[in-house]
Subunit: 203 residues, 3 copies
């Protein structure tokens, strides 16, 4: 299991997640393409804008082709297959989250930025695509309600900052992120913060 395989799995997972959200809100096939493309590339576009890196670097022909093929297959899938896939969606989405957060962090690190910018780059790459997807689907962004997303991208950023960069180290991060996220999902972990503590009484 090498690094580029993880990247491809991540980009397919994000494209599929965008396409399924488009199906849920009953968009036509153009909505499936737009949401699929924005989910897989949106985070990277925001990151490159914020870091002043040229955006055309993102459009490498191989990954774009894979994303477009994935989206076309989803359009021609029967609905029962869509439901079948959903069980696996959360798992692939976690791989995508880890893979995207690591890429964002590595890019910021390679530009010799501080920890602060590395964290912001990790977070936007991992979470930004999903945020644009949810906005375009008329939903409030899921990523802003769920802590796990953010904490895990934060951990990725810290590891990158410490200099982790070999394929083995990056694979360890991905496996760790996927395990924690699946555990958090099954056990419904939530963090209690002082600012949320009295919300039932006051609202």
């Amino acid at each position: 299991m090498t690094w580029s395989v993880l990247h491809i799995v991540g980009i397919i997972a994000y494209a599929a997640s965008g396409a399924f959200v488009a199906l849920q809100v009953k968009y036509s096939f153009i909505g499936i393409f737009v949401l699929g493309l924005t989910t897989s590339y949106g985070g990277a576009v925001i990151r490159n804008i914020v870091l002043d890196v040229p955006i055309s670097d993102i459009w490498d022909r191989q990954s774009l082709l894979i994303v477009l093929i994935t989206l076309t297959i989803i359009i021609f899938l029967e609905r029962k297959w869509v439901n079948h896939w959903k069980r696996w969606g959360y798992f692939f989405d976690s791989i995508g989250l880890a893979s995207f957060a690591i890429q964002g962090g590595l890019l910021a690190k390679s530009l010799e930025h501080d920890l602060g910018i590395i964290i912001i780059a990790s977070m936007f790459t991992g979470v930004g695509g999903g945020m644009i997807r949810d906005l375009l689907a008329g939903r409030t962004p899921l990523a802003l309600k769920e802590e796990t997303h953010a904490i895990l991208t934060f951990l990725c950023a810290i590891c990158i900052w410490f200099g982790w960069s070999s394929p083995i180290e990056l694979t360890i991060i991905v496996i760790f992120v996927v395990c924690i996220r699946m555990l958090s999902f099954h056990n419904k972990w939530r963090i209690k913060l002082p600012c949320n503590r009295f919300e039932n009484k006051n609202l």
Copy 2:
């Protein structure tokens, strides 16, 4: 009927469409200006970001002045004139769609990009402004529900890719797009896709 006339008609139509959406959701005059400006320029801004072309090229003084005058006139219109205009809105909007999609495609073509990037540039220029407009108005983007938009920008991109660039050829594209779109609107054409087929049973 030359090419620059079509461009001006398109930009006025998009500015007006933004202004009318702002009136529908009861925004104040600032909402009318912001939605008018984002609808006419938003698509081009997204396209230039994605293609790494400087954005200040978009702000040519002549078209900006025309947009601002159009929006000011709409603010001082009586509401009955607004309703009267609506009948023509769909027609002008179709001219705008064709004119913007062609511009986006020509720009990508002049940068010697592939068909894939030409399609993305056409689509974002034609549809992007309307998507930002709908987001700012708190509505789910219309362009993601209606197939015609996307298929027509796709056709524009293909024609550009084949090398159509003379005023006559571009005018033919615009007339074709407007005819198809008006026909599609009147006859309520919809495309049935496999992924949408069982939606009534499952949801």
Copy 3:
């Protein structure tokens, strides 16, 4: 009361306003960080994109640190303190509006742009952050419904265009903006436009 103090007050006020919106819509701590950061920096990011100025200039280490500390403090505040702060929120937010609009205008002026671009730069810097904040919180942008915002940023832009740039002149603008905005809020000033006049009858 010098200029840099006003800038710091403005950036804290905008960060806090983003954080409180995140609390109102029950986002987790990541939502507080994302909305706080987008409200304080979003306007400047949009402005720099539109003016083709590098975006990494925005991330100066001092202001970023202050914003992050502010947001962390808000996360650990008890809810009753949040309610207490709200009374002051509108006041600080007005300082932020003036300070941001002035900065946007000064930047556009220093690039030798026209009045039109100075106005657009002032408006996006002053109002853009709040618009992204409201979109991410799933609300229609407040700034598009309230005229005062826009008229005041417009006035800031005019003053900048006339060449006001000394700390005393800028402080006068800020005090004027804050006074007018508080008065407009208390007296519920609204502007009647022809296009809104018959809205009760027609809808």
